[in-house]
Symmetry: C2
Subunit: 500 residues, 2 copies
């Protein structure tokens, strides 16, 4: 029953990630559908936890969910020129309806008058409806969100991080003024940051993207960036100021309080199943998946330990009783009373599934009214052995709640310490090149002359990209200097890293 | 601000339905996407309530959610012959990736080696993965569910009831024996019935479909059928016994406890956004949408009533305070304190949105410590005027909870009484033809000779179809007789109606 080996991070980080996802039962490549994946029950349960928490935050900030069509007519997609150019190569296109059989082969039947694109994102189709729905300043702000699947066929894919189809939410809002839209962009990026910190236990840096990295059709893109264990950055969420670009492309106007007609100001913002990959990469270890309690489908697994059938009956009964109590506290609890596995095999399996807390319960524990608890990542004792904690069966829920809170905080603090240890300020090109040599990467704050040409030259030379211009206070103090590559004057340092 | 007129049911039932959906803010036709719709926030919120309740029921019966690819390779879809034949004409087909611009026009770029079908349902792609995941009896039963969008392009569409794209859940399970699979089919149909009765306030009849109406690839299809206000039936959910058809097509086998390999037995079952249409059609009236409280996004709307600014401040403060208390009880509550509308306009708007309970609150009520409550459908007094109830502000939550429970029950009982009044047992062809003359329709229990040919002949003559062979006890007693059309012997009566 033992799973396949998990490749150690130090040996092959990319393979380690694949192994953790596979052994954690999170997802697998669809294979027969190019670049797509199947999200397996354990992985989908993590996504559901993310959805529930984010959905609550969106509603608390005044947004309502709606659902727009999957298919976008080519002519609608093409209305915003930069947008269609940005997504053109990644589009899956529906050209036919119906199938016919002939000579034992199945083929397509009716060609459509106009092809449809499977949505890569929904600004355009939503623009079409905003025009129908918005007429007066009283209709604004319009604050919508959609939970949906989208498709972007890309050449190189990786489970959760970059797949042909993925699940996401996309917020789409329309406002009467640019200032209001800008506030919305910042507000939703704060929602993403808070979610990353509080739920994913993942510290992120907020900032503004360069023009090269901007969303196709936006006037500004903001993002949250997280550091993975290999020193590479992962963009975890984006929030776009669309200005009046889509408003003008779709002629979405409103009558203002003075009776004049103006184009609306729009925003869009999204996070996706990529966040599941971010959680995996940020917290897991060579023993497999590690999940923060607030995203764990199973918080606690009981492993009863017995020798005789009589013992089995007793310890299993006690485990099920305790499990029931914990479930009443809202926890996800599993009792692993399978006959055909030894306790060690069970430990191994649940570790790989990222269960934050294991509780062992044998006849001696039962007699003493206690259980043995082991955190998924436990401190080591003087002999280098993982510490187990003895907990009283009485008020077990309180102790478990405390441990899960501590474990959630521990993961955040560990990730933050890792990020701090892997963030540097660099002022010379030689030093910069050294950081990114081979597979090397860190968060690097460095001066840049502000041109797209230099940004590209740096990427070609080192594979490092500008992740963002961090908000003030989310990096070293804003001060002028000279570009590490060209020596030209620079107003401030920006954040570089290789990225997923 | 008054909405457009709602066509009375008696005048044009189909137009009435469209008007109720539009004025209720539930959905609208996408127009630019053939046969598809936009689900607007109020409609989507109803669907979210359905999802939350059903998802809990699925999990309580041991199912886990997962997510499979949107696109199905043609060769995978074609593996089960009956299945591909059943869905062939409705498929949307992706044949290209990428777009290119030339001469100012955008067109498709790269032809795919193999076309993909946008899933019309997922038995085939899931069959592909069941083969990879199932190896031993220990892997069974495999109990999965997916929340997803699907596409079936049909010629005649109607908001919610039949649309090119719709949202649904599809359960997919694999079992070691046929008996277990059959139990699952019945169990999930019971889940659907309980949901319809308890949440949708919609009485349904459970039964078995005829071979003609069976799901493509199933050995048996069971369904729940509801009666709409025009006497037509609406199929509200289906549960399929797939036998070993897909197991054999995809070669999904398991090693049984004796060490031999067998093909798995599968089921699938689903309900969709069509249920939103069913709720609208079953309960709404000529004043617009009526929603059962358990599906209402807004349970209570407060309409404060004032003349002076001083009065406004007082009544609005009281309304917001009461609303806050009701929200703490888990209710959806709106306070309509808009300046630019008169109370009558507000009543009208919230009635059309189907809010179950309106609470009016003026200065005199405030002084008396009471509010005036009016149910969306209220009993009439001796003068034919809708009764309003005086409720104390003290413990308002208790009174509101009681009224909402009563209103939920009232809608169920009203729908049940309507169904009983519109269900007949018919034993002659003349009588049968009379029921279905013109636009006429009812639930008709009648004898049928069991042949597909007669079923088709009856449909051609009357437009009535066999909705199901009701479970024993869900119709008149099972007794033999003679087919109303051919006079041939019949073992039992079956349920006929025109249908959506």
């Amino acid at each position: 029953m033992a799973g396949a080996r998990i490749t150690p991070r130090a040996q092959d980080y990319a393979q380690w990630y694949q192994d953790v996802v596979r052994e954690g039962g999170l997802a697998e490549a669809a294979e027969v559908v190019r670049g797509c994946m199947v999200i397996k029950p354990h992985g989908y349960a993590v996504w559901e936890k993310m959805q529930a928490d984010l959905d609550r935050r969106f509603k608390e900030t005044g947004h309502q969910n709606a659902y727009f069509p999957l298919l976008i007519p080519l002519s609608v997609l093409a209305k915003e020129a930069q947008h269609v150019e940005g997504f053109a190569m990644e589009c899956a296109v529906v050209t036919h309806s119906g199938l016919k059989a002939h000579d034992g082969k199945i083929s397509v039947k009716n060609e459509l008058e106009e092809p449809y694109v499977v949505r890569p994102t929904s600004e355009t189709i939503i623009g079409h409806f905003f025009k129908k729905w918005i007429d007066s300043y009283r209709d604004l702000p319009m604050l919508l969100n959609q939970w949906a699947n989208v498709m972007r066929w890309e050449l190189r894919t990786r489970l959760f991080l970059r797949t042909g189809e993925f699940l996401w939410q996309e917020g789409h809002t329309a406002h009467a003024t640019h200032a209001e839209a800008q506030e919305e962009v910042a507000r939703m990026l704060d929602v993403y940051r808070d979610f990353a910190h509080e739920v994913m236990a993942l510290p992120v840096i907020q900032g503004v993207k360069t023009e090269n990295e901007r969303f196709a059709g936006a006037v500004e893109t903001r993002c949250i960036e997280a550091l993975m264990q290999d020193g590479k950055a992962l963009q975890a969420g984006t929030s776009h100021d669309l200005g009046q670009n889509f408003g003008k492309a779709f002629d979405v106007t409103f009558q203002n309080q003075q009776g004049a007609r103006e184009h609306v100001w729009q925003t869009s913002w999204g996070v996706s199943t990529r966040l599941v990959g971010a959680v995996v990469m940020a917290h897991s270890d060579d023993d497999g998946l590690v999940l923060p309690p607030r995203l764990a489908p199973i918080h606690v697994v009981f492993v009863p330990i017995w020798k005789s059938d009589a013992e089995k009956a007793q310890v299993c009964e006690a485990a099920h009783k305790l499990a029931k109590e914990l479930r009443e506290d809202g926890l996800g609890v599993k009792v692993d009373d399978r006959d055909n596995l030894r306790p060690g095999d069970k430990y191994y399996e649940w570790e790989r599934k990222g269960v934050p807390l294991r509780i062992e319960l044998g006849p001696r524990d039962l007699a003493a009214g206690t259980v043995m608890a082991k955190r998924r990542i436990a401190p080591l004792d003087a002999n280098g052995k993982a510490v187990k904690e003895t907990l009283s069966m009485q008020d077990l829920g309180v102790a478990v709640g405390r441990i899960l809170d501590e474990f959630q905080r521990f993961l955040y603090e560990r990730a933050l310490a890792f990020r701090e240890a892997n963030t540097v300020v660099v002022d010379t090109w030689d030093e910069f090149v050294a950081v990114f040599k081979g597979e090397g990467s860190k968060f690097v704050h460095a001066h840049w002359d502000g041109t797209g040409a230099t940004e590209k030259a740096i990427k070609e030379a080192t594979k490092a990209t500008i992740r963002c211009l961090p908000y003030d206070g989310q990096g070293p103090a804003l001060e002028p200097g000279r570009c590490i590559k060209t020596g030209a004057p620079s107003a401030r340092r920006v954040l570089f890293a290789k990225n997923y």
